[in-house]
């Protein structure tokens, strides 16, 4: 998708992940998004890199051979290292999350996760110290005014329900990137549990939204990426 930071040097990410396939896929995916990746396959190696070099973000797997992620994180924080850490964990019991966040992690992601979601979380962490996104959003000729909750396309006003508006706003804020159904369920529907099956509900809302914002126009903005989710972009691919 060719995502790069607008200015300044590339964002440097340390990836600590022992699983070769996952590590390869994440490195390739994040490099394609314009990040610079250092990949460590053990906790010791990860700790060595983290303490000898400065990173913008550390992606830390919890289940590592030898020294596990929590231990590495704990040591880093005790040494005064304040680099943001995103934990990747296969354990999603509340206690595990609390333990991770207590140890000093900035966020966590439960495996298996959609790459789109990882990418969104990384951007969110990188954005933390930057200014809020602009008040008005424009994608193509579609304009969204979050304060007045109004949508216009090619000058035509489009009436949306509250849920449709939130959905569109979320998609527009992530425009050009893939948004998974899990992300929508959590961030738009605010459904905490992954066990609640919302996929049908989301699909119906997407279909309705598409009918209102895309059907009357030649250029389609809302695309389905099969097996992954949706993307909001002028570019059909």
């Amino acid at each position: 998708m060719g995502y790069t930071e607008e200015r300044g040097p590339k964002v440097q990410i340390l990836l600590v992940e022992d699983e070769t396939k996952v590590g390869n896929a994440l490195s390739a995916g994040l490099q394609a998004e314009g990040y610079e990746i250092v990949w460590a396959q053990t906790g010791e190696e990860g700790f060595f890199h983290a303490s000898s070099q400065s990173f913008d973000l550390i992606l830390l797997d919890v289940m590592l051979p030898g020294r596990d992620g929590i231990e590495v994180l704990d040591t880093l924080r005790k040494h005064g290292n304040k680099t943001p850490v995103l934990l990747l964990t296969a354990k999603d019991a509340i206690e595990d999350r609390v333990l991770g966040l207590d140890t000093g992690a900035d966020d966590y992601l439960v495996k298996p996760f959609a790459f789109a979601e990882l990418s969104a979380r990384i951007r969110a962490l990188m954005r933390r110290n930057q200014q809020e996104p602009p008040a008005s959003l424009t994608v193509g000729q579609l304009e969204i005014d979050p304060t007045r909750r109004s949508v216009t396309r090619e000058g035509q006003r489009i009436e949306l329900t509250a849920r449709e508006f939130e959905l569109l706003e979320y998609l527009a804020r992530h425009h050009g990137r893939i948004v998974s159904r899990d992300m929508l369920a959590r961030d738009v529907w605010r459904e905490g549990s992954r066990a609640t099956p919302l996929d049908n509900v989301i699909d119906v809302h997407i279909a309705r939204l598409r009918k209102k914002i895309d059907d009357p126009f030649a250029i389609k903005l809302l695309h389905t990426v099969r097996g992954v989710g949706f993307t909001f972009s002028e570019d059909a691919s």
Partner: protein
């Protein structure tokens, strides 16, 4: 005590009974002995009483004031020796008038100082020579102004001999009885406990593979029969849950295999076929869809596993059930709209319970989701909130085909489906109702199902109003 507890029940029972018997017998023997001793003394005392009168009869004083023992003297003296009688006669002013030879100069008590203290009922005393005697002391009047103190004693030796004979008889008989009873008791206990042994042997041989075996019960009324029956009931329950587990494992592996098979075959087929970018994109997308299906399945299974382990803690707050039902409706009404269904929430808007909102919401969402899924196009889904006795009730009425009676008992089982062929088309893994049931059960409530074929179904969710 712990050492005692380590022995077999049989020996413990025997030891207990034998000790109880020994204690009872000891108590009895003690009672009998003291009663016997008391009687012996009484006999001796009454004969002593008689004898002192006889002795008094032969006492007289000659005109000079000296004591004489009359013609019977010889006889009496003879009698004394025969029966071990010992005689002492004192004057009231403390002068010894007569002491028989048998005493060998020993006295039967201190020198009397007055007539009052001289009168003594039968009592035991020990002479300096070590002899134990029973003594009686009387004031004997012989004419006016003339009285003597008569002290008569008899050796207690024969009495004690008789007593100890009796005691030794008891002492020999008692342990023998106890030992005999203990042996008999041990044998009887062994016989009585034999079924326990048999049960234990049988239970040892029952494994997970042959849970259909049962313990043979000889007498259903006694304690062992009840134990056996309880054991058999447990076995039946175990068998049922093993059966459920077996079915669950089979179903779960089926559910996991289906998407895996799809991933593999889609991947293999498209690898073997030349295609353009869009074709491969589509293939990968299709594989990812199946991977998502697997993810959802594993998530649901994890939720259930955690529920089974009881590691989920309830965070109870006041939950308005009407609002909860409204919320579930708001979440799902688009699905109903797609099928032109009418979805309504009715009933009491003030019904509230103390519950974990997230968990309870999951149950309501799942039930409403099912109702929408199984109601036909243009159908009606009604959610009725109310109260019934001590319970708060949410009823979910659908206008679906109803659930045949033979399936009704199973629909809450994991992966159970009324119509397997339709299942994949309708979607979901078949865990929705199990999760709903767990969510309600954990709040102390229950889900009831009513269904008339062709007449729709009612899922009634009951939650106790007070925790």
């Amino acid at each position: 005590m712990s050492g005692f507890m380590r022995t077999t029940l049989r020996s413990r029972l025997t030891i207990l009974y034998a000790s109880l018997l020994a204690a009872a017998l000891l108590l009895y023997a003690g009672g009998v002995s003291s009663f016997f001793l008391h009687n012996l003394h009484k006999q001796l005392d009454s004969s002593l009483d008689r004898d002192v009168e006889t002795v008094e009869g032969v006492l007289s004083t000659d005109p000079g004031g000296a004591l004489t023992i009359s013609a019977h003297d010889g006889e009496a003296g003879h009698g004394e020796r025969d029966h071990g009688y010992l005689l002492e006669v004192w004057s009231l002013d403390g002068k010894l008038l007569y002491r028989c030879e048998g005493l060998n100069g020993q006295t039967l008590g201190p020198v009397p100082v007055s007539a009052v203290s001289a009168r003594q009922s039968p009592h035991s005393l020990q002479l300096p020579s070590g002899m134990r005697v029973r003594a009686i002391s009387r004031v004997h009047h012989m004419g006016k102004n003339n009285a003597v103190i008569v002290r008569l004693a008899v050796n207690e030796h024969p009495l004690w001999e008789e007593f100890w004979e009796m005691v030794s008889l008891l002492a020999i008989g008692l342990p023998v009885t106890v030992i005999l009873v203990a042996i008999t008791g041990y044998l009887v206990a062994g016989r009585a406990l034999k079924p326990v042994d048999a049960m234990a042997q049988r239970a040892l041989h029952i494994t997970a593979e042959q849970l259909n075996e049962r313990i043979h019960i000889e007498n259903t009324n006694d304690e062992l029969g009840q134990l056996g029956a309880a054991f058999n009931t447990t076995l039946a329950r175990l068998e049922r849950s093993f059966e459920q587990l077996r079915r669950f494992t089979a179903d779960a592996s089926h559910e996991l295999r289906t998407p895996l098979t799809a991933i593999k075959s889609v991947g293999e087929v498209s690898l073997s076929m030349p295609g353009d970018v869009n074709y491969y994109r589509d293939t990968i997308g299709s594989m990812l869809e199946e991977a998502n299906r697997l993810t959802h399945l594993v998530d649901s299974l994890l939720t259930m596993a955690r529920a089974d382990a009881g590691s989920i803690q309830l965070h109870r707050t006041g939950v308005n059930l009407y609002e909860l039902a409204k919320e579930a409706c708001a979440l799902l009404d688009v699905l109903a709209e797609e099928k032109q269904q009418d979805i309504r929430v009715e009933g009491d808007i003030f019904v509230a319970v103390l519950a974990d909102r997230t968990i309870l919401r999951q149950a309501v969402v799942n039930l409403v989701h099912n109702a929408v899924k199984f109601s036909p196009v243009n159908g009606l889904v009604r959610i009725v909130v109310g109260e019934s006795g001590k319970d708060a009730v949410i009823e979910v009425h659908d206008s679906g085909p109803g659930i045949p009676a033979e399936h009704r008992a199973h629909i809450f089982e994991r992966f159970y489906r009324v119509d397997r062929a339709r299942a994949r088309a309708v979607g979901g893994a078949g865990l929705g109702l199990s999760i709903a049931q767990w969510a309600v059960n954990i709040h102390g409530g229950a889900i009831e199902v009513e269904s008339a074929p062709g007449g729709g179904s009612i899922f009634r969710l009951r939650i106790p109003k007070s925790v």
